[in-house]
Amino acid sequence: MFSTQTANLAFSALADPTRRAILHRLARGEATVLELAKPFRMSQPAISQHLKVLERAGLITRRVDGARRPCRLAPAGIDSVDRWLRVLRRALSRNYERLDELLAKTAAIRNQEES
């Protein structure tokens, strides 16, 4: 289960655009610090700092592979962060589908009145 503290860490971690971009990149697969540093035009220590925050928040994991320490998304962490937005999205989506129907109906009535 998922604690409030983890959620706080995760949302703090996600508040930063570079960290969101790193997660976006990791969604395509594992990458090392060096590989991550290149497209972001940032120093390796700066990227390492971001990775530390993401790791502490449970959003990524790192494994040891010889001298390399590749990072990957931690599915459970991402999933729980996403849950709130997903439920809100579902509720809003249903509202707006209803609004679509209402707008179509009122447009039809207006057209009828005009013709």
Binding site: L88, L92, Y96, L99, D100, L102, A104
Partner: protein, 162 residues
């Protein structure tokens, strides 16, 4: 242009929602400010209704939406309008009562003409980073079914029944 909903967090205090509607801004604005219309669509999941809808669309005007699941479960939201520019902008403040009031959510909704339709952008601002975190964290702890889906359980006797 698809009418798919987009929802994301921005910075420390914001939640941004965008949605396209196949209707002109005048119609979409009206659907957000005429209580008889609001009552027909702002209902959350299936099975819920809004028996009380107060929506005084003028600066300082009151907002009060009460939802019911028809089985004694319910909750309500209160708020105030801050500014309205028909048909392009609504600024209002709202809070949920679960039954404790949640911190004020300051919401600016814009309706932009886009071809024959309207692009709506809703920008929610929470008082501070801590509040948004708490709001999101609390929501997740309860599975966020908190505010919409599992309201039956949250609805405390006395607030739900009136």
């Amino acid at each position: 242009m698809t009418n798919k909903l987009s929802l994301r967090v921005e910075g420390e205090r914001h939640v941004i929602v965008t949605r396209y509607f196949r209707a002109p801004p005048e119609a979409v604005f009206r659907a957000h400010t005429d209580p008889a219309l609001v009552q027909q669509w702002m209902l959350g999941p299936e099975g819920w209704t809004m028996p009380v809808c107060i929506c005084e669309a003028r600066p300082g005007g009151k907002i009060r939406y009460e939802w019911s699941n028809g089985k004694g479960g319910g909750f309500h939201l209160t708020g105030e309008f801050v500014d309205l520019v028909a048909p392009s902008k609504i600024v209002h403040v709202e809070r949920m009562h679960l039954p404790e009031p949640t911190p004020d959510n300051h919401i600016e909704t814009r309706f932009e003409r886009d071809g024959a339709g309207t692009l709506m952008t809703m920008r929610m601002t929470l008082p501070d980073a801590e509040t948004r975190k708490r709001m999101l964290a609390t929501g997740m702890e309860h599975g966020m079914e908190a505010s919409y889906v599992r309201l039956d359980r949250l609805a405390v006797p006395g607030t739900a029944r009136r």
